[in-house]
């Protein structure tokens, strides 16, 4: 009997052949996750459909921002736990008078790929480029900049048009990321996708949907980075990101579908983090160039805000991983109060209809644009159903992030729904550029009272006074509703067990991997 059984065991059948071939294919296609000693790289699955620009003076989307922050260091970086900024490229800053800031730079910081040492000239060049090109950042930290000059190789002196107490903190936004003068002048537009930075990683290879960064061996902190290489892949579909992580094709993902949170939590190979974000989801009305639109009447905007069931958004879109709110200051910021402050979290349809009637508007159609984040597209569908109850028809147009930003920043839209991450841990960054008539994403909202309040709050260094002013800013914003804020979503990340040294932060555009390593 034995020889017969033995012969049977080794007789190749069609089924066994296919099974063997399948196993071989699986083994070669899906590498077994190499967690543990020796692993020095990380494969990252990011949201968004692609990467178009890593230049900190130009880039505008969060997905590319995550890479940019690992390639560029900033003058200061956030200490999330302490809710303050700490030195990075700038080691000291002082304020000799109300309008002057002197910034002392770190010495010995090298640009990637042999472009020499970073000096005060690079800071001057970065900010002047920013101001001259009227880039995305001019409406934030750099707007009140009167002049800037290098005082020696390592000191920068900036003069403000008006007192700006929060200047160091607000430069933590993209404006604080310094570009390399020599490389930028030499490379031109090529700098945007393969930039030269001072960060812990340098761009090795770049395409529109995959960017590979490698360890910067000349990094000023000799203990960083720990990883040799990070592969950033743009994977717009949340489910594909999660499946790729579960199969071992990815090591780290951002923003999985919140309906899959339980699945991630129950997976012993994965670590799950959920961090309250400096983020809000919101609708914005373009009040410039849409003269005939009903939303020019603030009662219509208030009606929309009353028609929104914010709790339903939190439950259905974020599976509870968000906080309903109706104003711009997120938890942890100076002046924060638990929201919603005016518009009930479950909405008030009767009040909404009353306001529509008072405005003399029975219903209208409006085009609402949205970017390529799949959860925001679902949110817009839900919101469209909510406002349809007061007679407003949202004609939805989903766009890729590049097209969306193009329309948004050029104020060439009627209404949009999007999320945004606050770039700096100061309340000025949550209000000024959205509500001030000079803010570059204000979209035509112009209220002199609001401008005055924002400028006073920006100029003041007194915390109590600033809190009082931001309370008034919030009151005016809740009345005028140029933005209808829905909620503060949490930022969810999942990664393979064994990754250490990663600190989950509250910004959707910032995930630092300098200290990340495999155990």
């Amino acid at each position: 009997m034995f020889p017969t059984r033995r012969a049977k065991l080794f007789t190749p059948t069609r089924r066994s052949f296919l099974a063997g071939a399948g196993a071989f294919a699986a083994a070669t296609q899906f590498p077994i996750p190499a967690i543990g000693q020796g692993k020095k790289d990380l494969v990252y699955g990011g949201f968004g459909a692609g990467y178009s620009n890593l230049n900190p003076l130009q880039r505008t989307d969060n997905a590319a921002g995550i890479i940019m922050r690992n390639v560029f260091d900033a003058l200061v970086r956030p200490d999330y736990a302490a809710q303050r900024v700490v030195p990075e490229l700038a080691v000291e800053w002082s304020r000799p008078d109300a309008l002057t800031w002197r910034i002392k730079l770190r010495e010995g910081v090298k640009w990637h790929k042999g472009y020499g040492e970073m000096t005060a000239e690079d800071v001057v060049y970065s900010w002047m480029t920013c101001l001259q090109d009227k880039c995305f950042q001019t409406g934030t930290a750099l707007f009140p900049l009167e002049s800037i000059k290098a005082d020696g190789k390592y000191v920068v002196e900036a003069k403000m048009k008006q007192p700006f107490g929060a200047f160091p903190g607000v430069t933590m936004g993209y404006g604080g990321n310094i570009i390399c003068k020599a490389a930028h002048q030499e490379m031109g537009n090529a700098y945007n996708l393969t930039p030269i930075g001072t960060g812990a990683f340098q761009v090795e290879q770049a395409s529109s949907n995959e960017i590979i960064v490698a360890r910067n061996s000349d990094y000023w902190n000799p203990n960083q980075p720990q990883l040799d290489r990070i592969v950033f892949r743009a994977i717009p579909d949340s489910q594909v990101r999660l499946q790729s992580l579960e199969r071992g094709e990815l090591d780290f993902i951002s923003q999985p579908d919140t309906k899959d949170v339980e699945e991630i939590k129950s997976n012993d190979d994965l670590v799950y983090t959920s961090t309250p974000g400096w983020v809000w989801d919101y609708q914005q009305f373009c009040l410039k160039g849409n003269d005939g639109m009903a939303f020019q009447d603030k009662r219509v905007r208030q009606a929309i805000s009353y028609a929104i069931d914010r709790e339903a958004i939190v439950k259905e879109i974020y599976n509870g991983e968000a906080l309903p709110t109706d104003y711009t200051i997120p938890p942890g910021f100076m002046g924060y109060k638990k929201g919603p402050l005016r518009y009930p979290k479950n909405g008030d349809l009767a009040k909404a209809k009353e306001l529509m009637a008072a405005a003399g508007v029975s219903g209208y159609e409006v085009e609402v644009i949205c970017s390529d984040k799949d959860w925001l597209r679902r949110e817009l569908e839900l919101v469209a159903a909510m406002v349809s109850q007061i007679g407003i028809t949202y004609k939805i147009r989903n766009l890729d992030i590049g097209s969306f930003n193009n329309l948004w920043l050029n104020k060439n839209f009627q209404q949009h729904l999007e999320d945004i991450t606050i770039v700096a841990p100061d309340t000025d960054a949550t209000c000024w550029w959205f509500y001030h008539s000079q803010g570059n994403v204000t979209a035509g909202y112009d209220n002199p009272e609001m401008d005055k309040l924002l400028d006073e709050a920006r100029a003041s260094s007194d915390t109590d006074e600033r809190i009082g002013l931001y309370d008034q800013v919030t009151s005016v914003a809740l009345e005028d509703q140029p933005l209808v804020i829905h909620c503060n979503p949490n930022l969810i990340r999942a990664y393979r067990k064994g990754l250490q040294g990663f600190e989950p932060g509250p910004q959707a555009n910032a995930e630092w991997f300098k200290d990340a390593r495999w155990s």
Binding site: E316, E381, N398
Partner: protein, 312 residues
């Protein structure tokens, strides 16, 4: 003595009756035709027969399994899947119809002109068509929609554009052989204008491959529209669309697999139906099949002692 008279030839009538006889004898084509008519009628009558508003959200009813209240279940916003399938069909069928009409109206004249004129005109027109054909049609359509922006109107335009060369090529090919026929030469000699020759003689005789191609393009347009909407570039939410709803159903593959059934079966049945109808039409419009049918009919008539076309 009985007089023998010859009836005037009833070529078109007999061709039509032979073709319809051939088509009705094709069981698969007939069943498909009935299915397609049913689907079309159901979709057109969606406002009358759909049990719910396809875009009305009812969060308390979300992800319900198929049952008496919702025959095909509900989606993640509590919307009735059956109603969305019915309304979604209106979008798919309308896109397919308009794509067919537009690409036929543009492609057929181009093919007729190229084939009939020949020479430089033929060369110029066909090289343009070749340029279109070098790209995979779906990829080209996605690229066009990407440039124009996502909307169902742009999907129609893109799909029609990529289908024009197909019609142009087929009609040109038929025209090249038909223009050499004796009756075309005779018409020329008799002084008929080229437009009249093209319409009366060439187009009429090239109609069979065009009709078959229409069914192929129609089925292809349904699949292409669903594919583009699946990618998020077609029908925009909350409008129901088979392709987009299929994409959303993918999110709930494990939790609510029934969400896939409605749109996927609708796409499958409608595309299969149109393809079988196309097969049936191809066979029915094939003159060789008519000869077989004629011989069979003649044998049948001879057996009964009657001769077609002769009266006594």
């Amino acid at each position: 003595m009985s007089a023998v008279t010859f009836a005037p030839p009833e070529r078109s009538n007999s061709a039509l009756s032979l073709a319809s006889g051939q088509f009705l004898g094709n069981r698969a084509a007939l069943v498909s035709f009935v299915c397609f008519v049913l689907i079309t009628v159901a979709c057109l009558a969606a406002p009358l027969i759909a049990p719910y508003d396809p875009v009305a959200i009812s969060l308390s009813d979300k992800l319900q399994a198929p049952g008496m209240a919702h025959w095909l279940g509900t989606d993640y916003f509590g919307r009735d899947v059956l109603s969305r399938v019915l309304y979604g069909g209106r979008v798919s069928l309308m896109v397919a119809l308009l794509v067919v009409v537009a690409s036929t109206l543009v492609g057929v004249p181009i093919g007729l002109l190229a084939g009939f004129a020949g020479g430089r005109v033929d060369n110029a027109l066909m090289r343009i068509m070749d340029a279109f054909l070098t790209f995979p049609p779906l990829l080209l359509a996605v690229a066009i929609v990407g440039v124009l922006g996502p909307s169902i109107e742009n999907v129609m335009l893109a799909l029609a554009l990529v289908r024009v060369p197909v019609f142009a090529r087929i009609v040109r090919s038929s025209t090249l052989s038909i223009r050499e026929e004796t009756y075309v030469k005779a018409a020329r000699v008799l002084g008929s204008g080229w437009v009249r020759i093209l319409v009366t003689h060439v187009l009429r005789n090239a109609i069979a491959p065009i009709v078959v191609q229409i069914t192929i393009v129609f089925a292809g347009a349904i699949v292409s529209e669903a594919s583009i909407s699946f990618l998020g570039l077609g029908a925009q939410p909350p409008s129901p669309s088979w392709g987009r709803d299929l994409n959303e159903a993918r999110r709930f593959l494990e939790d609510a697999p029934w969400l896939l059934f409605g749109p996927s079966i609708a796409i499958l049945v409608s595309v299969l139906s149109v393809n079988f109808i196309g097969d049936g039409l191809r066979d029915a419009l094939d003159p060789r099949a008519w000869q077989t049918l004629r011989r069979a009919t003649a044998r049948g008539s001879a057996a009964q002692g009657a001769t077609p076309g002769r009266s006594q």
